[in-house]
Symmetry: C2
Subunit: 347 residues, 2 copies
């Protein structure tokens, strides 16, 4: 072995992964006593010393992970954060959430995370350009997002499958005149394409109303009003998410269309709102708790890699880091009270 | 002037407040050029040097404020955070929000804020004991809270007035058999006392159902079911907050009581949920955006005081800091679709 020992040498001698060495160096509580002793013996035997950069990193470790979301009022993020905190909390990391909607126009939440020296970022919105900077901390994408850097890890439910489940559910209830409410955003684009394809393949028709802006309650309300005024024959609406479905339910109420007797409405996300007794929304569960668990795991790997890279010095870094991991989880149909059989055609 | 010059000497010579000197020392962008020059001249003329502690503080300034809430799913906090970010953002501070509901059992959000070295905390829940520690950063309480330290500043809407507005509204619609749904929590206690007093003073009757736990949708649903099964003569329900009112609306739906024809329901907070077309909830606006603006101002004052104290050294600190400021804002009645005239008595 020539030259100064690296973290790889320590890992080899201790018979563990370099990620585990990194955890020991960072005094992670998740390491077993036996592994810790093995790593410490290898460090002593080899005379390994972390580089200055790594030592600084360890000393200044913030153990903080930032989660970036669009809007606190879209409760999709709550189960995601619960999942992230479950995984990351076990490894001594804390989670902080920033949304764009309450930010003053002058404030850049990504810069905010950097100034807080977060050690990793979970992006649960279309990806801001600042996070593609090579100096940015490790990033994991949660959900289907536009502008996701190709080398970033990602975890998402399968939006194409979920939207197809929505179409199949409504078609199985006899609906033949469907509407779809959508807006901008990476996940909405995938859901729309899959829903429209599944409906048209069946021979039924679908009218899509695209709102130019966020996928919020107002978008769902405006879209449903426009849809039902121009296409009153519509008997079922699939909204791109639960918040838009809430707006569509408000539109149905205003137009005195009974749900589900006259009009079926379903959403996507299975948010806490969908589970309330008043809303009682048929929806697609995107399993955001499981997405959070898995995104937390991927981010831990990335953060440990980043530590290990610094510790090993330049030259030992060509391995692995550019290979992105993409996990896809299966969504589920959740049957509740807002969908029912298609009404008999008007005489 | 004997001994080493203090921040008070600088302030006096420059003809400004010590808070403004502190802002200059912290390179706040909110100081006018003229004030900055005056302070810098006074510093040079007196040979003032900030103490080591103050210099460290400035160098390590995180410009971060933590907001502590119960639960992301209670959207009450969104307007509060928007108000806080408006005030604090102007002074270069960022805001991070932590909730208790998604935290793993092992995690203490207060410790999390301390490890992130927040410079101030806004508490929008009953106050955790750790924040009464003298070493904790400055705290401002938002809302009526249990266990609030007596020397902490606070901003709240007037919960007693708000609950009285609710009672007067329902009484003016002819309701004489009222129900109130409440749970634990400082604000709920005040709202309950005021509501019950106003109803009983009028000669009408009120049945209170107290849920042992958080003021969430489930509490509202369970409470309303219990109320309506034991007291079916009830024609109007005031819930301690909008989320409990959402649960009560779900209970009314399940029991096939039409709202507002058979049963009026109102909440408190005027959350984004209350404003949606489906929920369309009559409620009390607690002006949480304005509470956030004002809480941000008080916290800025506290943080500047803390800086100035450190800079002036011990002995110059006896002034002012123990006097707490308590601001109370007027709430407003918001009329929407869930309240109406009392139904005619059954024959």
């Amino acid at each position: 072995m020539a030259g100064r020992p690296t973290i790889y040498d320590v890992a080899e001698r201790a018979g563990v992964s370099k990620s585990l060495v990194s955890l020991v160096l960072n005094r992670s509580p998740s390491v077993s006593e036996a592994s810790r002793l093995a790593v410490e013996e290898a460090i002593a035997a080899l005379g390994y010393r972390p580089s200055r950069a790594a030592a600084n990193l360890a000393a200044r470790s913030t153990r903080l992970v930032g989660v970036l979301i669009d809007d606190y009022t879209n409760l999709w993020f709550v189960d995601l954060v619960r999942g992230l905190r479950t995984t990351l909390g076990e490894h001594g990391y804390r989670v902080t959430v920033a949304d764009m909607a309450t930010a003053p126009p002058t404030e850049n939440p990504v810069e905010g995370f950097l100034s807080m020296r977060v050690e990793g970022v979970v992006v649960a919105m279309d990806v801001p350009a600042a996070l593609s900077d090579p100096a940015a901390p490790p990033v994991v994408i949660a959900g289907t997002r536009r502008a996701a850097p190709p080398d970033a890890d990602s975890v998402t439910n399968d939006d194409a499958v979920g939207a197809r489940l929505a179409a199949e559910h409504l078609l199985s209830l006899g609906h033949r005149r469907l509407g779809h409410l959508t807006a901008s955003g990476g996940a909405a684009v995938v859901r729309r394409a899959s829903f429209v394809e599944a409906v048209e393949r069946s021979g039924a028709t679908v009218v899509t109303i695209e709102h130019d802006g966020p996928t919020d309650e107002q978008a769902g309300f405006d879209g449903a009003i426009a849809l039902l005024e121009t296409h009153p024959e519509t008997t079922a609406i699939f909204a791109a998410n639960d918040l838009m479905a809430l707006g569509a339910l408000g539109a149905a109420r205003q137009l005195r269309r009974r749900v589900p007797e006259d009009l079926s409405i379903m959403g996507y996300d299975n948010t806490p709102l969908a589970r309330t007794r008043l809303v009682d929304l048929t929806t697609i569960d995107d399993n955001s708790f499981a997405v959070g668990i898995e995104a937390g795991r991927l981010l831990l790997d990335r953060m440990n890699d980043a530590d290990a890279r610094t510790g090993a010095g330049a030259g030992a870094t060509s391995d692995g880091h550019a290979r992105a991991t993409h996990r896809t989880l299966e969504p589920d149909l959740i049957l509740r009270g807002t969908t029912g059989p298609a009404p008999a055609a008007a005489p």
